[in-house]
């Protein structure tokens, strides 16, 4: 065969077939910029899109490029909205997306939303527009009620997943569940844990009974423990179970029913729920412990000895979420019993108390990192820490992907040396070469940011609070962290200079959040002027920023890259810095 000078081209169908093996967005994005024809082929066959910031692109642009999408994932509000730092009404409305997709993607099957405002109207539109709709995941969303859920239940004939993960739902009635028709037998996953009021138990039981493929069931607190065995008997193939309230009067028959029901669930791998946990009923789950890989006890307000009795039987445990009631002693036992542990989250039982209310300190985390070689993800709230401990942790676990430490009192120093934690966190970023997410706390100077900039080459998300001395800190991060996508900062003395000096960097990131820092209004305007592909939003509840001097710092600043231009759904305390004009009011 003669070689021509131009590259041989595969027929489109072949390329399309090859691309169909690419599931990761990154790979698909990479492929689409190789050349025009690959771009065209790829865009026709992409079925799944992920949009990390719903304001980064407009629905119309997405629809123009990708014509036959089956699965959409959208994220709205900035992460700090979880901690009430983003005022009500900021935005993140999903309706424009639903309306646009209803027209363009009749075969859409999956919608996953995070931190977005979803209305009953949107839910109704979803339920009526997509004939083959299968998956709805609403993570930390708000704005809808059980009426919207009723529409989904009633109209989505092939619904597989309904997951309301920690959303805020207006609970008008528990009867929405009865709207699932008798013909609906396709459910695989149902998570209603966040619902406050009772759902109709008989409707729930019937639904579970006619869903042979149900593998994940997360109940809400209102489902009483005495009734749990009924559901378990209907769904013995469950893989993930979230109990309702885990308390009942001491009655041997209730206990034995429960224990028997659990032992019939041979495939159970994950447990959660456990509100109001009564220790007397914990042994009912012992029969499934050895197979458990995931255990969420973070709502169980029981003491360490009871926690330990359960955990030390879970030899296959990979993920544990627990309250600090577990204490250092409990964590030491965890370290000895659960050698496959990959993820640990320890939440504070008394986050606003001034004093340590339980003996949970750096010791627990050190023990787990020493004992569990596969540990790669940590979220740990405590009141005391030392650089020595952090260095030891870094040495034991060089494979950390996610390390989030919250020393509860801001600016707490190393309790042994009274020094800042620069060395400790420095050790973490230096040793953990794969670190993608880091949250800092405690007393920290600019030095720690130097280390982060120097070593955090794979760092994608960084959260900073009450740290640093000067602009240099922020500059180190912006200039050094090559993979940085999300940066969120609060209450740090960072000002205009590092932002302006690293302005171009901001276009390589998804977003930057800064609140209670020292960035001036003037700098915001300047940034917006120089970088038209950034939306620079100023949130200030004191009134329009131009009613104060330009050098005056803004309360909150949210900068994100976008190809969608300015947004028009901002509330009156958010100002977008326009190129040229200066100020635009919503």
């Amino acid at each position: 065969m003669a070689h021509s000078l131009s590259t041989p081209s595969f027929p489109e169908e072949v390329l399309e077939h090859v691309f169909s093996f690419l599931s990761s967005d990154k790979d698909r994005n990479a492929v689409s910029v190789v050349c025009k024809s690959w771009y065209e082929i790829e865009r026709c066959c992409r079925r799944r899109i992920f949009i990390g910031n719903c304001y980064a692109v407009s629905p119309r642009t997405v629809i123009q490029r990708f014509q036959d999408v089956r699965s959409v994932e959208l994220k709205g509000k900035p992460h700090f909205a979880d901690f009430n730092l983003v005022p009500e009404g900021w935005g993140g409305y999903v309706h424009p997306w639903i309306a646009a997709m209803a027209a363009a993607y009749p075969w859409l099957e999956e919608i996953r939303l995070k931190r977005m405002v979803v209305t009953d109207e949107s839910l109704e539109l979803i339920s009526k527009s997509f004939k083959n709709f299968k998956v709805l995941v609403l993570s930390t969303c708000e704005g809808f009620s059980t009426d919207g859920l009723a529409a989904i239940a009633a109209n989505c004939r092939n619904l597989r997943e309904l997951d309301l993960r920690e959303s805020e739902v207006e609970d008008l009635s528990g009867h929405w569940l009865s709207h699932f028709p008798e013909t609906c037998t396709s459910l695989v996953s149902l998570n209603i844990a966040c619902l406050g009021s009772e759902v109709s138990f008989s409707a729930l039981e019937r639904l579970v009974a006619r869903s042979p493929n149900l593998r994940t069931l997360r109940l809400n607190r209102a489902v009483p423990l005495e009734k749990l065995p009924i559901l378990l008997h209907r769904a013995p193939h469950l893989v993930e179970l979230g109990t309702g309230a885990y308390s009942a009067e001491s009655r041997p028959d209730v206990f034995s029913n429960l224990a028997e029901a659990f032992s019939a669930c041979k495939q159970l791998k994950g447990l959660s729920g456990f509100w109001d946990l009564v220790p007397a009923y914990l042994p009912a789950v012992y029969s499934v412990c050895s197979k458990l890989t995931s255990l969420n006890l973070s709502y169980a307000t029981i003491q360490s000895p009871d926690l330990v009795k359960l955990i030390c039987q879970c030899h296959s445990l990979q993920r544990l979420w627990v309250l600090d009631y577990i204490e250092d002693a409990g964590l030491e036992i965890l370290a000895r019993s659960c050698k496959d542990l990959q993820e640990l989250r320890v939440f504070p039982s008394d986050p606003y108390g001034a004093e340590e209310n339980v003996p949970l300190t750096e010791r627990g985390l050190v023990a787990v990192s020493e004992g569990c070689p596969k540990l790669h993800s940590v979220l740990y709230f405590c009141r005391r820490m030392s650089n020595a401990a952090l260095v030891a942790i870094a040495r034991s676990c060089p494979n950390f992907i996610c390390f989030r430490l919250c020393i509860i009192e801001p600016r707490t120093p190393d309790y042994l040396t009274l020094e800042p934690f620069d060395t400790g966190f420095g050790a973490i970023v230096e040793r953990c070469k794969e670190l993608r997410r880091l949250s800092l706390s405690g007393l920290l100077t600019d030095r720690v940011f130097g280390y982060i900039g120097q070593h955090g080459k794979k760092l994608e998300m960084l959260s900073v609070a009450f740290a640093g001395d000067s602009d240099l800190g922020l500059h180190h991060v912006l200039s050094g962290c090559e993979s940085l996508r999300k940066l969120e900062i609060r209450d740090c003395p960072f000002g205009d200079k590092p932002l302006l000096a690293n302005a171009a960097k901001l276009e390589t990131m998804r977003s930057l959040w800064m609140s209670s820092c020292s960035v001036s209004f003037g700098a915001c305007k300047l940034l917006a002027q120089k970088l038209p592909r950034l939306n620079v939003e100023v949130m200030d509840e004191r009134g329009p920023p131009d009613s104060r001097p330009e050098s005056c710092p803004v309360e909150k600043l949210y900068i994100y890259r976008t190809v969608a231009g300015p947004r028009f759904d901002m509330p009156d305390f958010v100002w977008k810095m326009e190129e040229g004009a200066g100020l635009r009011y919503s």
Binding site: P413, L443, D471, L500, A501
Partner: protein, 194 residues
């Protein structure tokens, strides 16, 4: 938020100039550092070596003005509202009373009492006697309440009408939904093995 320290003379345009130089390579850097308005809330005395600004102590309107207790910082520690509410609900339940309705046969309206206030049956019965101006009598396992035409009963979680006093106090507390003071022949029927 409170009023801001004005920096009219300090516009320092050079500081906001877009350039690639490192901050700190210019002496104007020190100036701007000290002029930066500090939005930090007042925080207790940790070893503060980074304190360069004097306005660290500025109290802000949105912090609770609680000099005795620590001012709670908005959004800190970073615990999601969902989780906070769960914990708070638990605490609230522990702190608020446990009020149950009390009806008396023949009375025009019901009353409410807080069961948490009482440590045991004797106290509860005494309180009922006081509230309704009656005597309830002595409890015995065999005969219920003797010596009066009244018998205290309660409705439990299953909706059954039970005689007060048979089960341990704690169990009673967790299963009692409402109280009913029965009178006359009905009351006697409850106590005896008829």
């Amino acid at each position: 938020m409170e009023s801001i320290v004005a920096h009219e003379n300090d516009l320092n345009l050079k500081a906001t100039e877009l350039r690639l130089g490192l901050p700190g390579t210019d002496e104007s850097e020190k100036e701007s550092a000290s002029c930066t308005k500090n939005n930090k809330r007042s925080l207790p005395e940790c070893a503060e070596e980074s304190a360069k600004n004097d306005d660290l102590d500025a109290q802000h309107g949105d912090c609770e003005a609680a000099p005795a207790a620590k001012a709670q910082i908005v959004g800190w520690p970073p615990v999601r509202s969902y989780r906070k509410n769960s914990l708070q609900q638990k605490k609230a339940e522990a702190e608020t009373g446990f009020y149950v309705k009390v009806s008396m046969d023949g009375a025009p309206y019901l009353r409410k009492i807080d069961l948490k206030v009482y440590k045991g049956y004797p106290e509860l019965l005494k309180a009922l006697e006081y509230m309704f101006k009656l005597t309830i009598g002595e409890y015995s396992e065999r005969e219920g309440y003797r010596g009066s035409e009244y018998a205290p009963a309660y409705e439990d979680k299953d909706g059954d009408l039970m005689l007060v006093g048979d089960v341990p106090w704690e169990m009673f507390m967790s299963s009692c939904k409402k109280l009913r003071i029965m009178k006359g022949s009905e009351a006697r029927g409850l106590g005896c093995g008829v």
